[in-house]
Symmetry: C2
Subunit: 233 residues, 2 copies
Amino acid sequence: MSTVNSTPSDAPSRDAAARAVPDRDVSAYGQVRAMIASGELAAGAWLRETTLADRIGVSRTPIREALNRLAAEGLVDLSRNKGAQVVDFSTEDVAGLYDVRSGFEPHAVRLSVPHLTDDDVAELASLSVRMEAVVANGGDMDGLSALNAAFHGIFIERCGNRHVATALQAVMRPAVVAHTFRKYSEAALRRSMQHHAELVAAADARDGEWAEAVMRTHILAARNAAGDAPSPR
Amino acid sequence: MSTVNSTPSDAPSRDAAARAVPDRDVSAYGQVRAMIASGELAAGAWLRETTLADRIGVSRTPIREALNRLAAEGLVDLSRNKGAQVVDFSTEDVAGLYDVRSGFEPHAVRLSVPHLTDDDVAELASLSVRMEAVVANGGDMDGLSALNAAFHGIFIERCGNRHVATALQAVMRPAVVAHTFRKYSEAALRRSMQHHAELVAAADARDGEWAEAVMRTHILAARNAAGDAPSPR
DNA sequence: GCATGTGAAGTTGTATGCAATGTCTTGACG
DNA sequence: CGTCAAGACATTGCATACAACTTCACATGC
């Protein structure tokens, strides 16, 4: 980070969820988001405030705040006086997101690599290893999504401009609920993990151009693996 | 648009503010945002919930929703148990946003032009004329920002992918509060208005490539006019 | 004089009650 | 039998009250 909020004490609430791997976020927002990410709340499902409030064990007020924030982030659709429902990602939506990411994220990576601390690289490496472990165990694709979001989030947060970071987060977030990893083939998963490892290597070498190239490869491969042909431009 | 929300009846509340020119948005969100855009609430100023509630004439509840949304959009900073303050855009922040926009918005424009209806083009033309009128009268730069946001918003909303639109809106929004037009020279303002007129012409001709080129020119010129040298890459 | 602890004031976080709006069922009428 | 209207139900929007936390001032001890 650059300008504001460098002390750990006054971390804004949204950083707590955006940062690294959310070790079970206890906030209403975090819980609702986790339900969406896990598929417990399916696409198109209505989110009733009282239902969620009862399930999470708080009143409607924090639930409403969570829904508003999720709506601002594009994870739920709000209709006035009718309620919120989980967004439904069409194939075109997902393809569009990959288009945007392929244009921006490599750039962000090149900007961020020079700013990475040794700790950042260590965390990237850790996340990469943990993701490989999940894949090796044939495990939990949604957990993998969370780790993946944390991995990519590190680059985005360190890109040197907080507003650019915010905008890029807006592009990244929907990926959490799109369940793209579930569509991956075994080979595509393995390739994706290799890209992560190579990104760690490039980051460790502080080679922004290398990292940028790998990231572009990574995203274009992902667009294919998610089951979408390259969109005509 | 593709999947959800094609009927006009159930338009989500945030569309009301994002759409076209907000003819004085009466929602708490709209009012607070207008205060920020007008400079009535300066950068760095603390936003006290009770103060805003009294001034706008509602209770704290809708104020809190507004602040949460503005925080998600990156227009205010939230600190838990401390409150919200208007973001302070550094020169680097603005430059970074122009970098991002120069990368994406031309692309979005090329995608959107084929989708534009005659009504869309007419509205673009109307906005362009109104902006020229403001400049000719030497008038209100913040009003100009609003018109400009509406102008660019039309292209973004019609780009064919709602999530791409959301992401680009995230990049655009800060421009409203950065008061960039105030820094423009007379010549830069005039040039900017010419770009708008040419964008209308390209849109009217449904020539996406032309529009894309003009938009790239427009943004790069704006980056300069806002007082920033091209950022080193 | 400086650091530290304690208290009060102010502000945000949450819960709850009520009004307004939307939806669905049920009944009557053509 | 189909259509429409009216009312009951469910849900959201807003206001208010209280609890928790932060911050600032002031006094106290070193």
